[in-house]
Every structure is written in structure tokens, then in C-alpha cells.
Symmetry: C2
Subunit: 215 residues, 2 copies
DNA sequence: GGGCAGACTAAGCGCCCGCTCAGCTTCGGG
DNA sequence: CCCGAAGCTGAGCGGGCGCTTAGTCTGCCC
């Protein structure tokens, strides 16, 4: 497992790093509840219930409900950053690396939609210090994508009006997948990833040297 | 005021239709509070306080806190649909109409960011019946954009792999503006609208006959 | 000037929230 | 065989929530 392609949808449950087992079950329950109802509408009783425990058990493993969100956010952002970094640092043209970054990033947002939803949309529920830490990770994600686009512009592969706005737009496209994607729907995460990679290459003007698929 | 261009950022406060005055002040206060903290984290005491009233005053004009969100959502979605419809039904090529739709839709999401944030991200806080009504409006928005893209494909102006996915991606791009746009930031709503219209024309493969601006 | 309708407030009801604590069970080490 | 640590529970605390109610103030018609 070393390419971004392989990382985005590989493992069944990516919370193996969380121990002990009870802490992980609580965290997975919290991810599901936060994704379904939002942080503020989720109660600690609901989280504990989903994990098959009493409400008090939560406070043995986590100091507060916010600490749960903080942990989820940090692990999720680190995963997202790892995906983008792997794509950014592989060998190949800027076109190939951007397509790899977008398709694997989208695949993660689609395939692990519940996690991505919490990670991308519940940031404001964190307190100031925790939020600042997460915002810093998010800026690193932005920087990885912007770096690829800048290199494509420098090499003449891309034709872009405004690197800053285009970077934001590319990330918007990927992130918003977590808002609408439905695992029961007609598209698989792989298909959406491929479609979005094509759209992004068009946005950066890379179409000329990356022949479009037949229709 | 008859083009989509003019509608997106024209009036100062678009809540003139809400009467009496106290009901409008409460609604504007609710929009601000919901946009800042989210529906579930906002208290009725906060809304009433922002409107300069006691908590009980809210219940003279609205049955519940949810009715406030419902009213905001409906008016906001009607405004969004109006913007898209105006662009869709004007004269001109599919390219011109899509550029008009995207730039005015983005301008609205940027310029009226607080409203757009509530409209686009707080839908899940509504009960089933209210949500169903709003979802129907949202599908009409989707249909307007999809219509323009289908016409562009039929006329040969656009080259698109998957109309359904491209429509979704275009709307994602516009909607996500409400998540990140900052009125204090370096870009005006007009600038972002123009940049995004260019990006969307690239996504649909309209670049060839819509010469790109100089850089 | 009296009375009544509508807008608004002070006070508070009942509920459920995040979180705590005393006590129970389990289990590995001496 | 006992002990203490760790994991967990049942019961419940203080508080803030959405919302209600009894009553006050204002303005307008007669």
C-alpha cells in the first residue's frame, strides 16, 4: 500500500489505530451519529447507546464530547493529508499527479462518507484551540493541491487564470462529494473519482495533452 | 431588474416580503445566528436577543423555532431557483446562459453568504414534511442547470462525459462558495462569480468557442 | 373616557442535556 | 487468597433548553 490510489478505499475500518477496543467503538459510534445528525444534535447518551454502553462509560475514555470530535477531526484530516501528499509526491507529470490526487481524494470522500462529513462540516463545533490545530492541517491540504497546480502551470501543462481560486474550486468539488454522495446511489466511489478527475483536468486546461475518453 | 446578473446582489436586504416588521427582525436575527453557529447550537433566547426582544416574543410570530428555519429555507430556495430560472430562460447560446447562471448563482452565494449557508447546510434540521418540500425546490434548481447543459450538448457547444455528474459538480462548486467565502477576503463576489463561470465553461468543454480571457 | 385587540414581557414549567460519583465486577501479581 | 487497578453501571446533579402563561402596555374606535 504505497500509492494514493490504493489508500483511499482500501481498508475496511480505518480506526485500528484507536485503542483500546472500547474507545474505538465509542469513536466509531460518534462518527456515525455526528454524520447523521450533526455534532450539536447528537447526545452523549446516543453515542454510548450505539456503542452498547452506558452514558457514563464515555467519560472513562474521553474527557468531553468535544474531545471525541477533536480526535475524529484530527485523524480524518491526517488521513486526507496523507492521501494528497502521496499523490503529490509520486513520480509523473503534474497532470498525472493532479488526476491521482483528485480521484483518490474524491474516492475517500465518497467511500468513507460518514467520516468525511464530520471532518469537513463539523469544524465550527470545536473550541478555538482545537479548531486552530485542525485549520492548520487543512491549510496543508490546500498547499499540496496548490503545489501540483503551480508546477503544472510552470511546466506549461496547465493553463489557469487564478491559481488561488482554482485550488479552492478543486477542493470544493472534492469536499462537496461528502455532502451529496449516497452509497445506495447509482455511482460507485471509483466512478465518481474518475469523473471528477476528468472535470478537474478540464478546469486547469490540461485537456489538450490528456486525451479525453471516448463517449 | 430582469436579468440574473442584476438579481444576485442587487437589493440590500431581501427580506422585505416578510411582514410585520417585528417578524422580519426576528427572521433576520435567526439567519445570522443559524449561519454563525448552526441551527441546533442556536437558542431561541439568542434569536430574540439579537432582534431586541424577549424570548416569548418569538412565539407570537412563529409557532416554533423550526418554523423559522422552514421559512428561511423556502424563501432562500425560491430566490435561488429564481436566479437560475432567469439565466436559463434568457435568450442566448447555452454557453452564455450557463455562464450567466453560474456567475449570478455564485454571486448570490458569496454576497448573501449567511443566508446561503443556512439554506444549503441546515436542511437536515427540518422535519420530514418540511424537508420534503424544500428538497422538491432543490430538485427544480438541479433541473434548471441540467437543462442548460443538455441543450449545450445537443447543440454541440458542450462536450460532456456524463451530464448527471457534471450537473452535480457544477452545483457543488457554486454551493460550496457559501462554506468558504469571506466578505473580508481579497475577492469580491463579482470576481469569484466571473472566475467560477470560466471554470464551469471549461468543465463542460465550451472553451473552444468561448475564447479564454488574457492572463 | 372606557373598553378591547394586539404586541410584548417576566416568570417559570417540564424536560433533557453534558457530566459526575459511589459502588460493582473482573482480573493479574504476590 | 487477598488486593488494588481498571472498566463499567445506575442514579442523579445542576443547568439551560423550547415553549407557555398570566399579566402589562399601547393605541384606536366609539
Amino acid at each position: 500500500m504505497s500509492t494514493a490510489e490504493e489508500m483511499a478505499g482500501g481498508e475496511a475500518e480505518p480506526w485500528v489505530e484507536v485503542t483500546p477496543d472500547a474507545a474505538r467503538r465509542l469513536l466509531v459510534a460518534a462518527v456515525e451519529a455526528f454524520a447523521e445528525r450533526g455534532y450539536h444534535a447528537t447526545t452523549t447518551r446516543d453515542i454510548a447507546g450505539r456503542a452498547g454502553m452506558s452514558p457514563a462509560a464515555l467519560y472513562i475514555h474521553y474527557k468531553t464530547k468535544e474531545e471525541l470530535l477533536h480526535r475524529i477531526s484530527r485523524i480524518g484530516h491526517e488521513k486526507a493529508l496523507e492521501i494528497l501528499r502521496t499523490a503529490s509526491r509520486r513520480e509523473g507529470s503534474a497532470t498525472e499527479r493532479l488526476a491521482d490526487a483528485v480521484s483518490s481524494f474524491v474516492r475517500w470522500h465518497a467511500g468513507r462518507r460518514t467520516t468525511a462529513r464530520v471532518v469537513q462540516y463539523e469544524l465550527d463545533a470545536l473550541g478555538p484551540e482545537a479548531r486552530a490545530e485542525i485549520v492548520a492541517l487543512r491549510r496543508q491540504c490546500d498547499a499540496e493541491v496548490r503545489g501540483i497546480i503551480e508546477e503544472g502551470v510552470a511546466s506549461g501543462e496547465f493553463d489557469v487564470l487564478d491559481v488561488w481560486a482554482t485550488t479552492l474550486a478543486v477542493l470544493s468539488l472534492c469536499i462537496d462529494v461528502a455532502r451529496w454522495f449516497n452509497i445506495e446511489g447509482p455511482r460507485t466511489p471509483d466512478e465518481v473519482g474518475a469523473l471528477y478527475a476528468d472535470l478537474v483536468l478540464r478546469m486547469v486546461g490540461a485537456g489538450a495533452r490528456f486525451p479525453r475518453a471516448q463517449r
